[in-house]
């Protein structure tokens, strides 16, 4: 009987212990819930905890000695060390500034930046992000133009003069709300010139056409000749006049450009795809498709792998005319002074005996011509609210930018490395250019030493003159050879994101238009379908977009 009593006591003890352990295990699960709301507030200071090899130091002592900034502007690969060459040089030169680099893997940049912001460690300077999206989320700081002019006077003067020269206000596009600046203004010299068109002039000579076609009729004759008369002499009917890369110049010949807002004669904006010129151009393309002059596989891009800017179809002798990629992919091989010339070099490699020539966009029946051209204005980095609110620190940073963007030697050092080691001054055609050392020629190498956009907001900036020198002979060549044939349609609306309803309608409307145009060109639909397509476009959101575009444009 004593045993039975003992067993009962044991049982009760066992059950109690089980319950105690169960509750303890459950509570240990709950211990994972902690309130870390304080985390966000503590990182308003300038020492974020997500940087590599961090020992958090109190901000008071740093600010008394030096200005500390965290940078996440962009990179093409990892940095060589925590303090790369260029950063060390700049800190040495400026004296009272300290830069801390935050490395983000480029393939998932947006996601990682979102994490950094969500975790409360937003970098002070943030680049290569969607500035409009950040503005809408209200996480970036803003300042007024006067403050910028006071802190960065030389920078501002350059913006003013360039804006006047090109008739496009560089300040206005940075003011997302119309009043205060949200990002750094700048210009991009590459966009001073429109896209070019190129012809296989060896084929034209072979066919008896001794002059590069200038009007649309001349171009049409050349297309038919190329398609039907076997210019490459291989006995096979495998050459076509043109493919999709040429479309921009054809639309340009009729006074419009696809996927752009065009200014009408009364000052209002219309979407390029909806204009009468687009209908005429499409009818023309449909006729060429039916006659076999337009590449039947035009739906596929002209590029078939490798470097994106290479028109494989043109370089392999399938078509005789193209306007693919940008002008700087087609400039001649200038040797070490090359800006890019990707298309040219590939062409030379594939056609050692062939030649091509840069032509002019063909003149249409109403005297219009042109290809696509990007807006010369550029948006730069954005800044966190904590940086902008600290006026003293922000002003110092703007002063740093003022120096780095206007002083010639510093501009190139900041972009490329140490003079003499990583780059040096050279000459092209009697003018000064910058030549890059061959051990520093790839973007990944330049980013590793801290060059490219690591401190500064972008590769470019306000000074077109410095950019001209930086990019070697290509710009000089363009100024000499392209200025007279520079016919470009520029999108009157700076970016789709300025239209509030863009996110809602753009992708559907784009699909509607793309499919519609292709079906008319291939003959699936008659040309009359164009009118229905345009009215559908207006009905399904185009009308809203047009109104918003006009409102925005009238504000500029």
């Amino acid at each position: 009987m004593f045993d039975k009593y003992k067993m009962e006591v044991d049982n009760i003890m066992k059950k109690t212990m089980i319950w105690i352990f169960t509750v303890a295990l459950f509570l240990s699960v709950l211990s994972g819930c902690s309130t870390d709301k304080n985390n966000k507030e503590t990182s308003v200071t300038s020492t974020p905890t997500s940087a590599p090899v961090k020992t958090p130091t109190p901000t008071e002592t740093i600010e008394n000695e030096k200005y500390h900034y965290t940078l996440c502007v962009g990179n093409y690969g990892p940095y060589e060390s925590e303090k790369p060459t260029v950063i060390a040089y700049m800190e040495d030169f400026l004296g009272d500034v300290e830069f801390e680099l935050i490395y983000v893997e480029n393939t998932e940049r947006q996601t990682k930046v979102n994490m950094l912001i969500a975790g409360g460690t937003m970098p002070d300077v943030l680049g290569t992000v969607d500035q409009y999206a950040m503005y809408k989320e209200d996480i970036i700081g803003s300042w007024d133009e006067q403050f910028f002019r006071e802190s960065a006077p030389d920078y501002s003067v350059l913006i003013d003069t360039t804006s006047e020269e090109y008739g496009l206000d560089g300040w206005a596009v940075t003011k997302f709300d119309g009043e205060r600046m949200y990002t750094m203004p700048g210009f991009r010299i590459n966009n001073a010139f429109a896209d070019v068109v190129v012809w296989r002039d060896d084929w034209l000579t072979e066919l008896g056409i001794n002059k590069i076609p200038e009007t649309l009729n001349e171009a049409e004759e050349a297309f038919y000749a190329i398609t039907q008369d076997d210019p490459d002499g291989n006995g096979k009917d495998d050459t076509y006049g043109l493919s999709s890369g040429a479309f921009n110049s054809i639309y340009g010949a009729f006074g419009t450009m696809r996927k752009m807002w065009i200014e009408n004669s009364d000052g209002t904006l219309s979407y390029g795809d909806t204009l009468e010129g687009a209908k005429q151009a499409t009818a023309q393309l449909a006729k060429w498709y039916a006659d076999g002059v337009l590449d039947p596989e035009f739906i596929n891009s002209e590029n078939e792998g490798g470097y994106w800017a290479v028109s494989t179809k043109f370089n392999t002798g399938r078509i005789g005319y193209t306007g693919y990629a940008n002008w700087y992919h087609w400039h001649p091989d200038l040797g070490t002074a090359n800006f890019n010339a990707g298309g040219t070099l590939d062409f030379i490699a594939q056609n050692p005996d062939g030649s091509f020539k840069i032509g002019v966009p063909p003149i249409g029946p109403n005297g219009e011509r042109g290809t696509s051209q990007a807006d010369i204005r550029q948006l730069g980095t954005v800044f966190s609210k904590s940086l902008v609110d600290d006026t003293d620190r922000f002003a110092r940073l703007l002063q740093v930018y003022n120096t780095l963007y206007t002083d010639k030697d510093l501009f190139f050092t900041n972009a490329l490395g140490i003079e003499g080691t990583h780059w040096f001054y050279g000459e092209y055609d009697g003018k000064e250019i910058v030549l890059i050392d061959e051990n520093n020629s790839t973007l990944a190498q330049q980013t590793a030493i801290g060059g490219l956009p690591t401190i500064t907001t972008s590769n470019e900036g306000p000074s077109l003159e410095l950019q001209t020198i930086r990019y070697g002979g290509g710009i000089y060549w363009a100024q000499e050879n392209l200025t007279d044939i520079n016919y470009g349609y520029v999108n009157r609306v700076f970016s789709n994101s300025v239209l509030p309803s863009a996110a809602e309608y753009t992708s559907e409307l784009a699909t509607l238009m793309d499919e519609g145009f292709i079906s008319i060109i291939t003959g699936d639909q008659p040309i009359e379908y164009f009118d229905k397509m345009v009215s559908d476009w207006y009905k399904f959101g185009g009308e809203v977009l047009t109104k918003e575009a006009n409102d925005w444009y009238s504000m500029q």
């Binding site: 089980i18 352990f21 169960t22 699960v29 902690s34 870390d36 985390n39 905890t49 997500s50 940087a51 590599p52 090899v53 093409y76 690969g77 990892p78 940095y79 935050i102 490395y103 983000v104 893997e105 480029n106 393939t107 998932e108 996601t111 990682k112 979102n114 994490m115 969500a118 975790g119 792998g305 490798g306 470097y307 800017a309 290479v310 090359n338 890019n340 010339a341 990707g342 070099l345 590939d346 490699a349 890059i436 020629s441 790839t442 973007l443 990944a444 190498q445 590793a448």
Partner: protein, 292 residues
């Protein structure tokens, strides 16, 4: 055995085999093509279209990629992560599965439900990031191992397997005087080799292929695992060999060959491990564990 002599079943077999063979070829051919492009010397001309053999055999592409120090960093990180991660996962998963499989675990149903609920939903990306951040694991190798340490799916599979083992095993072990740990590690685990091999292989491959968590949680470029480096090379073309402002050297360095060589360098190790583990899948038959 089914009589296979009539013409109908023979035709069926033939069609079956042909279809399966074509299907296998269509899966294997891309691997073969990638390998051939990586072994091809680009100065002899690039391989386009369907091709079975390289135009000119060379190992230059592989030498190029292996000379790239970030690949070796990536290997180190991935091997550390795979080895420690898989060991830790197996330890915790097997012990938990063993516990959950025993019918006399107190409040067993309650714990099973608690364990099952997170299998159906998770907090999302940003809450996970905040969680790891508040644990102080950002930029640490543990952030790649700890958050996904025990996969509930694997846990349930293992638990179910252990539940199929007769409970007399445990009772006879208890009679012979062993405690829970000895029973688990000396008796049950050796009998579960097939399921252990399966789960460890899944975990191993998962760790080897993982890249997204590294991008999110790790800030130091030197600690990026192999797949992140591969992704950088293949998707972005951003490496000291590939990305060029001046698009020259089209003849000597063909970017696609470099990318393909990188793909194989990152995949060959795991392809080698797979066959060795596979032989354990078919073992583990209970013979002679219960006498009398």
């Amino acid at each position: 055995m089914v009589n296979k002599n009539n013409i109908g079943s023979r035709i069926f077999d033939l069609c079956n085999i042909v279809m399966m063979f074509t299907f296998c070829l269509s899966i294997l051919y891309p691997f073969w093509n990638v390998l051939m492009v990586s072994l091809n010397d680009p100065s002899a001309g690039n391989l386009t279209g369907l091709s079975l053999l390289p135009k000119k055999f060379t190992l230059e592409n592989y030498k190029n990629v292996l000379s790239y120090p970030e690949i070796w960093n990536g290997y180190r990180e991935t091997i550390i992560r795979t080895v420690f991660g898989t060991c830790a996962t197996m330890l915790f998963t097997t012990t938990s599965a063993y516990a959950l499989a025993q019918h006399d675990l107190p409040n067993r149903k309650f714990w099973t439900v608690i364990v099952l609920i997170p299998m159906f939903f998770s907090g999302g990306l940003i809450p996970s990031y905040l969680n790891v951040k508040s644990l102080g694991l950002i930029d640490s190798r543990m952030s790649l191992i700890l958050p996904g340490l025990v996969s509930i799916y694997n846990l349930i599979i293992m638990r179910n397997y252990i539940m199929t083992l007769p409970k007399e095993l445990r009772e006879s072990a208890w009679i012979d005087g062993s405690n829970e740990f000895t029973t688990c590690f000396r008796i049950i685990i050796p009998l579960s080799v097939p399921i252990l091999a399966t789960v460890s292989l899944w975990t191993l491959v998962g760790h080897w292929n993982a890249w997204f968590d590294a991008i999110i949680y790790i800030n130091d470029a030197n600690k990026m695992p192999l797949q992140v480096v591969l992704r950088r090379i293949v998707m972005e073309g951003s490496s000291q060999m590939l990305n060029q402002i001046k698009a020259e050297d089209f003849g000597s360095i063909y970017p696609t060959a470099i990318k393909n060589a990188s793909i194989y360098i990152c995949t060959i190790p795991i392809l080698c491990v797979y066959p060795f583990i596979q032989k354990y899948f078919v073992k583990g038959i209970l013979i002679g564990s219960l006498k009398g």
